[in-house]
Symmetry: D2
Subunit: 270 residues, 4 copies
Amino acid sequence: MLLSTSCDFEFEIVVPTPFILMLRPRSGAQQWIRSEEYKLSPSVPVLEFTDSYGNLCQRLMAPPGPFSVHTSAEVMTMDAIDRAPGAAFIEVQELPDNVLIYLLPSRYCESERFGNMATEITTGKLLGYDQVAAIEDWLRRTISYVPGSSDVPISATEVNAKQSGVCRDLAHFGIALCRSLSIPARMVVGYCYGLEPMDMHAWFEAFVGGRWYTFDATQSVDSEPKAAYVAIGFGRDAADVAVYNQFGPAVYPISQKVAVRRLEEDTGPL
Amino acid sequence: MLLSTSCDFEFEIVVPTPFILMLRPRSGAQQWIRSEEYKLSPSVPVLEFTDSYGNLCQRLMAPPGPFSVHTSAEVMTMDAIDRAPGAAFIEVQELPDNVLIYLLPSRYCESERFGNMATEITTGKLLGYDQVAAIEDWLRRTISYVPGSSDVPISATEVNAKQSGVCRDLAHFGIALCRSLSIPARMVVGYCYGLEPMDMHAWFEAFVGGRWYTFDATQSVDSEPKAAYVAIGFGRDAADVAVYNQFGPAVYPISQKVAVRRLEEDTGPL
Amino acid sequence: MLLSTSCDFEFEIVVPTPFILMLRPRSGAQQWIRSEEYKLSPSVPVLEFTDSYGNLCQRLMAPPGPFSVHTSAEVMTMDAIDRAPGAAFIEVQELPDNVLIYLLPSRYCESERFGNMATEITTGKLLGYDQVAAIEDWLRRTISYVPGSSDVPISATEVNAKQSGVCRDLAHFGIALCRSLSIPARMVVGYCYGLEPMDMHAWFEAFVGGRWYTFDATQSVDSEPKAAYVAIGFGRDAADVAVYNQFGPAVYPISQKVAVRRLEEDTGPL
Amino acid sequence: MLLSTSCDFEFEIVVPTPFILMLRPRSGAQQWIRSEEYKLSPSVPVLEFTDSYGNLCQRLMAPPGPFSVHTSAEVMTMDAIDRAPGAAFIEVQELPDNVLIYLLPSRYCESERFGNMATEITTGKLLGYDQVAAIEDWLRRTISYVPGSSDVPISATEVNAKQSGVCRDLAHFGIALCRSLSIPARMVVGYCYGLEPMDMHAWFEAFVGGRWYTFDATQSVDSEPKAAYVAIGFGRDAADVAVYNQFGPAVYPISQKVAVRRLEEDTGPL
């Protein structure tokens, strides 16, 4: 599937403000960035670096006055996310080194507290993919998905107390549950085709059967196409994958627009 | 100063248990490992890897039965930790790329919540080193240091509520306060000469004036020698720098011994 | 300066052929990629990874039949390359760790053989930038720059024997001479505005005064604008920065077009 | 097998001289460093870093006068090197990203020149391990192994012209032949038990069947134990894995001693 994505931010800056943006998607196994735009107005010097998770991050100093960020991309992505019922749990000692960090608790995923709950949710399931699918399904049935209901990230413990949340919250809870079963899990932010209302999205991935698989408790299993994801950033949780981090006195976007369209052009399979 | 350090763990393993140990100190700007032992009994295959913070980690599968880990080292370390009153705050846009991760909130350091408190604690201080020194001093005066008072890591928010803690807790609080002022801060675990009671120790470092400086609110500023630290691991907080992580059914050491001695041999300055 | 760059390859593939392309420029201190296209025809799955020099590389399997690669970009680059007469030689022990690899001899830069020649060329010069400028100047006066005169990379020793070469050859020779003086030097491939005839270009950078500076013995010092470079890849020499590596039976492009235009739009300084 | 290794260098330094040493073996899949010593006399500050191949490197400034380096280790290593006749050739597009660099030509391995020779040597062999074994065997039969016959590294082309060489030379030739067949190959330096005369040793590894396998054309296939290797450094060729690099006016060791002993203690399998 060929998608066109865009994200536009407008800020009104008062004092020179350092930003770290994470708005340039990378080509990878699941997506190919065939074109891309990244424009800043006014134009300012930018340093780009690769963080420890492999994300491209853009550092800049926003000058006082109106400041806008425009990014867009044409991305070839998969027609449906991979599912793999039965894919095996990977024993910790067999995991690749760089996956181990996703077993540890993190800011918004207090995985050390959810061992019993996760065990109960997954009772009777095959170890591995089926456990994660059971967690995803449990979240879908149990935690109300209320888009726009919160601005500030909250942690799995808080989501559990609240029993509802935005996409990010459900992802945090899913990640915490997986990790408590020694299944590596990580947060993804990016675009999702067909999302309503349209916005940046967050979901999670779990490492089973030797690779990362996508899970998203906010989407119906029957929705079609259940697929069209474009990842921008990967990390342990929302603390790692903010589409922007800003330092100094708080600055909020006065406008933020996200769009995802399907392009008609037939490009064949990714 | 030349130190001899050792750490011994004994476990009684019931089912084969994956471990990730972080017990091999690395030579660096502040310390030189001139000899080292690392012995496992029974001997098992070990894979060693470097994590994303640069720590050496040892992966192994502990077999059922008694399992012991012995590490020791002779380390040349500094005679006194560096102090640098006046060392400048580094603007975010000037920080090295690999330091940026230490600005973000993490599992036990909810830095996004402590902006006001940190501002108040550091009122009137020069930006940079002096702010961190004020935080260290405030912690020393305010939070009771009670070695052995907790086993499980707690977060800065919880330490603030409790107003007391172990070395790890004070470090978490200090880190959260620094990061809320856009000062990169990280956790260090390792050995500290003269600690009473002797145990593994935790402290923190802040990045000011272009490098990392050591801070430790558990030690009196007047104690002599205020120095002799041997770092084993660096990370965002205790979640990253456990001297061991163990997976599967919980296993606790039936014995743990830490020793730090000063060697008489005159080796001159590091 | 705002440049539009493009590169088009057409191949006629006989058997399925693995390719590793290096055709996606990265934003960095000297350039900002504000838009970019990367299209393959037919469309095939691509894996992108970051190599040990920080370059983005695209892995794919080209299927039998016609296969074309189109990349283009709009890049904001500097109006003039930085010059820094007097910038100091950095003692080896003061060099950043990740620069050290650029002191070692490499496939096409047998730096261990050029110590005497480099010393003679730079006699009387200040250590550092001025030595490299003297090397660049010596190459410009001594080695005939003959675009299109060779297809296969040759080494500094061979360039020295031949006394002429393409841009890549002059860069190899310059790199070898710098390294023999313990000055880190690396190869850059990319686009150069105003190049005649237009083609992919190669130049070199030397690390003096604490950063990398651009040198290019193929361009007159008086040419205007002496600047407009867009880097695609960095490495020790041509072995590391091929815009494509192809494995299996040799395949040659049946067509290769490179274009660099200046865009009129006034974008202000980078 | 439990080995004791040691390496001692003595230098007479005239002017302050930067060194980069690579003398600290790392624990890995094939070896476990259970104790280690690293002593410098006089003691000087040392910075240790991890290079892009994963080797630990020690940077220091040797002061004028006598300067000695002592390293020793007790290492548990395998009783016999793994052999895997039939292990498959891995298609380039299936290789791990970080292995790809070992397909490229390098300073002493001009692999782009040996395609025909390698094809001929391996005629009729299964692709993969058996090709490398054929290359190893061909080297053993064809190129005279003459320990101590050269001090300066020479390249595969030069070894081919000379038809004899030291361990390093045979390794370079083997690596170049493998790479010309799109088989990743890398150089290893370290210790070899039973070597005569005892010295630092060099051999090579090829990546087939999904992992690195050891090859050494200097050793008889029948020698017993054909095993006991302790690796210190990995790289593309000798340019990457010098046990020391020294900068400025050349300094040669006035004494160099290498020892490898077998320890009696029964430690069981690695």
